[in-house]
Symmetry: C2
Subunit: 422 residues, 2 copies
């Protein structure tokens, strides 16, 4: 059992107190939520950074994926992307690098003050040269390395097993498997017939993670890759398995997150989120998207913001940023900036479900008064991306009203009319 | 009674047949929906353009606002903005010009092949020089002029009356009145104590509209201007009035649209839409936004896409594009392009609620197969903005996979693995 989780049953460990303070919630409540597996604080003790809390009682968080690929590999550029995401408000970073010296890239990313995750199977495949040559020993030794280096949460596709593969075969999908990690494990199962070691040796995996105070993010390797595939069985089979694995992690005192879809039509988001939350014992839920349409490539960040805000309203805790270049190219810095901002917007909107009318305190009230008063400086200071807003406003000069209505500003008209009456 | 509406009770007028064909629905059904006031086809016979249908049984439509202001006034540029919006898929254009020669600008916009709306009170105020100097005669004569020129739908704030103003006074809002038209009428009521002529002489107004086969868009001058104001009474008082006016328009055989908010927290959208639909006899509902947060200026197009897609799922029929420069500046062409694309995305996502699984036919299935086959040309052809998507993909060269995953493409991995098995 993780020492941190054990402590949470009786005291408020310092790292939890710090995360709770940042959240504006009670440390004891957060510690209890962690002990019950309803919240997590990913904080690998091998490294120092400001901790964040994810889950029950906490605001919705945003993760931003960065990382090289075989086609584009400049470690310095990826580092700058991560730094940009953090500057724009990302709560966590995942390094999904698959090209270049992965250890060096990771080392550099881990110098940033941010909760950081990785996907060890990527490095395993790269080192082995091929998914089929990844041995359980290699995979577990890489997992251990990531833990020792201070990675806070690891995506591990433990639910891609013979059963979910069988479910996929019986009820096939147009896009098959689109999770990269999921595809590696599926390829091994399909070719060798051998069970996924992350599933068959799950207890051993939990031991490694507990020992290193590292969080498991139970990957959804069977997530649908198109809205048209959302209703097929494989994902639900995998979620039932993830439910078992979630319970076993809780019993082993290992903090865990559940990863969720993917591509889901807008009217199916609510029940999917509630279903996953139910079968996993209300573990913190980490979503990629969900994307609500596939025919707007170039605008998947907006598609993901629609899905993400609805999912967060239904209970999702952690949104993975989708960039404008999703499905098209490795994101550049502009994609990361735009994607992060839009994901932060979705997370804030989703917070409405958690905060009720207290949500209005989060800048919304201040903005309403600033607008009523035509106080532009106050508007920019209440704006989450105020400098950007100012740059749009100022392109037509600095005036009392904005160029949208000019002198025919509704607020100005009524203000003057009421002043003239007095 | 409008000749078109009268005909709809017995036959399928040619213009209705054309709109139905574009929609892929039965002409008789559409004619019946129009006769019952559940759908509209805005098509002023004074001008020729391809008609669109809005409301029951139809896909969700997108309007794009363009128009000069006192601060920025280049008629040619506004025309280009309108042309850009139409090229990007806008279903209708509203000319909200308040600066320059309004008649000339309108004339130019009306040469475009698009359903077009205006807000006559703007011109009335501009001609009178001041809202308080607008006489009923001036306002009605301008309305008549717009009808004669071929404008298809007119936003008229008939619900801003003494009662809704009293409701606003009793339950004040931080941002007061933010509708420009609403502010003009409120200023007159507040200063002179006289009733809004659009309300007191509503029957006369309906006669003008029926005579000219022009649609009334019942403006929501009391829409909230901030999410924090969404729960205040004025808007609901106005909707009850709009419900009466909606019924009277139906009885007078005048096609009508109801305009809706505005700024609404995400969890309040569904019941607002259903409430408005209920009290207005399921008249076609035209929404601005709704914006679900106020603290992301520069990203109001995304805020509006979240609100708009949810509202459309709940029954809204017609979405007004919100541009990235909303609340900051008059939109430029880039804002119009970005805003229109994002609004089209929201409308498509909202269509899911109308189409059920038939929605998958709208390119979604084709895209899933194109992705499965790594067929980039097919992906770009199924994409709504395919050239833009291609430009993102091609920035890293034209390859079988994309630069996001490079050779470690999940789809490619499984494809090769399964091919090797055979």
């Amino acid at each position: 059992m993780s020492t941190l989780v054990k402590k949470c049953n009786s005291v408020v460990p310092d790292i939890i107190a710090r995360a709770a303070q940042k959240e504006g919630i009670d440390g004891k409540e957060l510690a209890l939520a962690i002990a019950k597996g309803k919240a997590v604080v990913p904080a690998n003790p091998a490294r120092e950074h400001d901790p964040i809390a994810i889950g029950e009682g906490c605001t919705v968080k945003v993760n931003v994926n960065i990382g090289t690929s075989g086609a584009r590999c400049d470690p310095e550029y990826e580092y700058n992307k991560a730094a940009c995401a953090i500057a724009e408000g990302a709560d966590a970073i995942m390094d999904l690098s698959t090209g270049g010296d992965l250890k060096e890239i990771r080392k550099k990313i881990l110098t940033l003050n941010a909760t950081t995750g990785t996907v060890p199977i990527y490095e395993a495949v790269k080192r082995a040269g091929n998914a089929l040559d990844v041995t359980p020993d290699l995979l577990f030794s890489i997992i251990r390395e990531h833990c020792k280096e201070g990675v806070d949460f690891l995506t591990l596709h433990c639910g891609v097993n013979k059963e979910s593969y069988e479910s996929l075969r019986k009820d096939p999908r147009v896009t098959g498997v689109v999770s990269r990690g999921g595809a590696f494990h599926t390829a091994i199962i399909a070719t060798t017939g051998e069970e996924n070691p992350l599933y068959s040796e799950y207890d051993y995996l939990l031991e490694i993670l507990a020992e290193n105070e590292t969080i498991i993010s139970l990957g959804d390797g069977m997530r649908p890759g198109a809205v048209i595939d959302a209703g097929r069985r494989a994902k639900s089979t995998e979620y039932l398995t993830l439910g078992d694995l979630s319970q076993r992690a809780l019993e082993a005192g290992v903090q865990r997150i559940i990863e969720g879809p993917g591509h889901i039509p807008i009217d199916q988001i609510d029940y999917n989120v509630r279903f996953i939350k139910e079968v996993t014992g209300n573990a913190p839920l980490y979503l990629l998207g969900p994307l609500v349409t596939d025919i707007f490539p170039g605008y998947d960040h907006v598609s993901g913001a629609i899905g993400g805000s609805i999912a967060a309203m239904s209970g999702a805790d952690f949104l993975c940023m989708v960039s404008p270049s999703e499905h098209l190219a490795l994101p550049d810095i502009d994609d990361i900036r735009e994607g992060t901002r839009v994901a932060k917007l979705a997370a804030h909107v989703g917070d409405r479900g958690r905060k009720g009318d207290k949500w209005f305190d989060k800048g919304e009230t201040g903005m309403a008064f600033a607008r009523r008063n035509l106080d532009w400086n106050a508007q920019f200071s209440h704006a989450v991306y105020g400098d950007y807003a100012r740059s749009i406003h100022d392109r037509d000069g600095e005036t009392e009203t904005c160029s949208m209505c000019g002198d025919l500003c509704a607020i100005k008209i009524l203000k003057e009319c009421l002043e003239n009456r007095n």
